[in-house]
Structures are given as C-alpha cells and as structure tokens.
Symmetry: C2
Subunit: 233 residues, 2 copies
Amino acid sequence: MALDINKVSIKTSLSSCFGSNINEIESSTDFFNELAEKAEENTVGANEYLFRESDKSDYVYVPVSGAIMLERSTSTGSRQVFSFLFTGNILGISEHAFYSFSAKTLTESTVVKINKKIIISIFDKYPVIAQRYQEMTHHILSLILDQLFIMGQKTAHQRIAHFLLDMEYRIGHGSNRFHLPMSRQDIADYLGMSLETGSRGFSKLKNEGLIQIDSNYQITILERDKLKTYAEG
Amino acid sequence: MALDINKVSIKTSLSSCFGSNINEIESSTDFFNELAEKAEENTVGANEYLFRESDKSDYVYVPVSGAIMLERSTSTGSRQVFSFLFTGNILGISEHAFYSFSAKTLTESTVVKINKKIIISIFDKYPVIAQRYQEMTHHILSLILDQLFIMGQKTAHQRIAHFLLDMEYRIGHGSNRFHLPMSRQDIADYLGMSLETGSRGFSKLKNEGLIQIDSNYQITILERDKLKTYAEG
DNA sequence: CGAGCCCTTGATGCATTTCAACGAATGTGG
DNA sequence: CCACATTCGTTGAAATGCATCAAGGGCTCG
C-alpha cells in the first residue's frame, strides 16, 4: 500500500481519469491524499493478466504507463478484444461482483490499483468524485456503443481506418507518428475480422498513400483527411 | 404528474427494474410513494419517438407495456439498432447530458417517465436505490458487451439464432411461442446484416425444423437445445 | 378486389475467410 | 556473431458468406 502521489506520472494519470478539472474542486487535495494512502502502485511485465474473466472484481486499475487489452475468449478458442487501454484510462469500474472480461498487459505496465471498498468509502466523503465516477461509467458506455455501431455498419477496411485514427488520437499525442503496442491478431480480434483481412487493410491504406508503415508497429498517418473520409464511408 | 402506484402493471414494471428484492428494503414503500407523486405515466402510439439522439437527456423511462427500440442513424441513411426494450426494462440512464441514440416505439406503449433531477434527489434520500441504480448501469454495460461479443464473433445465421433465443427468454415468459414486435428490417439493423440475410436466416432455421413461423411475427421455438448449439457455433 | 407494404427467394457479384506459402523480424544456442 | 528455429506479417488463390439487385408471394387495409 501507499502511493507516491508526488510522482508526476501518477498524478497525471489519476487526473486524466478522474477529470481534468478535478483540481479545481476544493476537496481534490484531500481526495488525492487519501488515495495515496490507500492505493498501491504495481508494475507487471508484458503479456500478464491483471485479472481474468469471472475473477472477483475487487479492484479498479488506472494505467500509469504501458498498454492493456480487455478480452473475452470462448471455449472454442475464438476471442473478442473489447478495448485497448493506455495511460490515464481506467478499468474495472462498471463491473458486477465478477469481471466480465480479462485484462492482459501488452507491454510492461505500471498501474495504480485501488480497492473498490476504498473507492466506495471515498464516494461517501466526496460526492463530487462519486458523480465523476458515474460520468466515467457513462462515458465508457457511450464508447462501447460507438464501437458497436462501427462493428455493425462498416466494412473491414473502414474499421481499420477508423482504428488507426483512434490510435493516432489516443497514443500519438499530437504527432501523426505512433507505435502500436498490439499485434495484428489483437487488432483483428478487436475489429471482428480475420488476421489476414486486417493485414490486407493495412497494406491497402499503405498502397493508397494514406499511411506509412515504418516497421510493423510504427505507423505514420500521411493523409488524415482522406483517411477520415475513407473511414466514414 | 402523479402516478397510480396501485396499478399492478406499474408496480411490477418498477419492481422488475429497480430490483426484484427491493420490496424487502425498509424504505422501499417511501421510495415508491415518492415516485408516484413525482413521476408520470404516458401512453404513446406506435412508431413515435420518446426522444431523439442529441436531445437533452432530462428523463428516464420505464416501459410498462409495449416495445421500444433504441437506434442511431447516419447521415448516409444507414441505421444501427442498439437494443429492444420491454416491460420492466429501463432507458435513459447511463447518458450524458444528451441522449446518444433515439428511442422509438414499436407498438403503442405506456411508459413511466421520471425526471432525472427527481431521481438524483431520491438517491440522496435512499442510498440503497442509488446503489441499485449503479448496478443497473453495470448490467446494461455487460449486456452491451455481450452484444459486441456476438457481433464480433458469430456468423449472420448464428446471430439470428441467438436473437431468437434472447427474445424467447425476454418476451416468451416461459412459453416457447412469442410475438416479435419488430420488423425484419429492425432485426437486421440490430444484428448488423441486410434484411435479406436476416430473412434467409429465419427460413433456414424453419427448414431445419428448429423454429416454426406461424405468421411473420409469431414464432415458436421447436428445438431449443439444437438452436442453442447452433447459436454457440 | 386491388394497392401497398413487407417478407421471401433466386441470381449475381463483391467482401471476407480460409488454406497455404513465403518473407521479415526476433530470439536461442552453438 | 552467425545459423537456425520460431513467431509474426504479408500475399496469393480458392472457397464461402453476405450484400445487392430483382422478381414474386402473401398479408392487410381501403
């Protein structure tokens, strides 16, 4: 237990997750101090599970560094990837007593791990945080609805284009060049297509000059507007 | 304003939605009385909108009778149906300031309409209800995750089979014979396929003897186990 | 009885999966 | 440090699934 709240990375992640303007709230300092006391910081290697589907959902996680993937597998071996998470996202809220998916690290990751009971007790003291928590849940829900919309409406190649724009926004941090932490298989399972179709999508966008593939995982968006048009279909 | 809480149908719907065991909670009578005072009962005809996407989300609705569909349309005319709702479901929670989809009645429907501000004020008085509300949000989220999983994994015909089993469970009320309130087009837009593919799915299941189509909308599940096996793929 | 709407069915072409081979990148042990 | 094994990505060819176009059938309502 105990968290070094003075570390910029941790403060940044928590702020990004609990609301960028939370610092303006009068009780925010108390809130962060209480979190610092009762939460813990964990670092885990790549390709490890933070938790698995149907584990008791006792903890909420906030990635400080690294990349995490939420997935669910069937008995027949197929897999659906629900989401990719990065610094300042949050996972494990919006769960019943048991997680409804597994969380696997894609790279070595540092996470802040917060016991749910502590979260609940914090809510009682800081109603503003409780409200913010609700908002996060709603935000997550609207993201999943968007994802559902994309899955139902768009062709495979359009979904790839959409995915790349999303990644640029989320991990490019202003740059049009970024490094994908997940494999082609992960992307395919996220977008509901075969690995090969995913790969062909990348190639097509490359050949049409919309993106540049520097190495397998290093992507540059060359023509953002055209890519957007393509994604919207 | 004002709600006849003594109507069995309304009491049943609200109970089903706010938790079947809510009656065991000591403050539940107060809660229902307060709701009766401040909520209202509305009846609207078929094919009308309770609200539209990007309307201000001031109200939460609980269907008492009828069937409602949640949908989102693109500028290009295509449409994604997110969900079908029946008696005792709830809609409009888990929304930001504005609805992220439209709610359209499939049949004449009676709904209990509750102002969000009233809901919030009720939370302050009855923490148990607030917690139940959170649980509902989580439940909705897990349902959408399931839907996302199905969209990503299954073939069109499997999705049809899955859909029919879901409908049997939700509107069959113990019987294997039920009446679908939505059109083939609605089903297709829900499952992310063309109308024709949906229709072929129905025909195939009929020809294989797994279901019986008495009229276009009257369905009987003949071989539930086989249908399940088929849906699981 | 006829018009209109919805559903079904058939035929065709395109999108996607599957199977298979190759190439590039990564890691291991000699 | 290199040869080899292994994993991952790309590409091609064939098969399948699905969408689209088009026609016909059944139900409902005037």
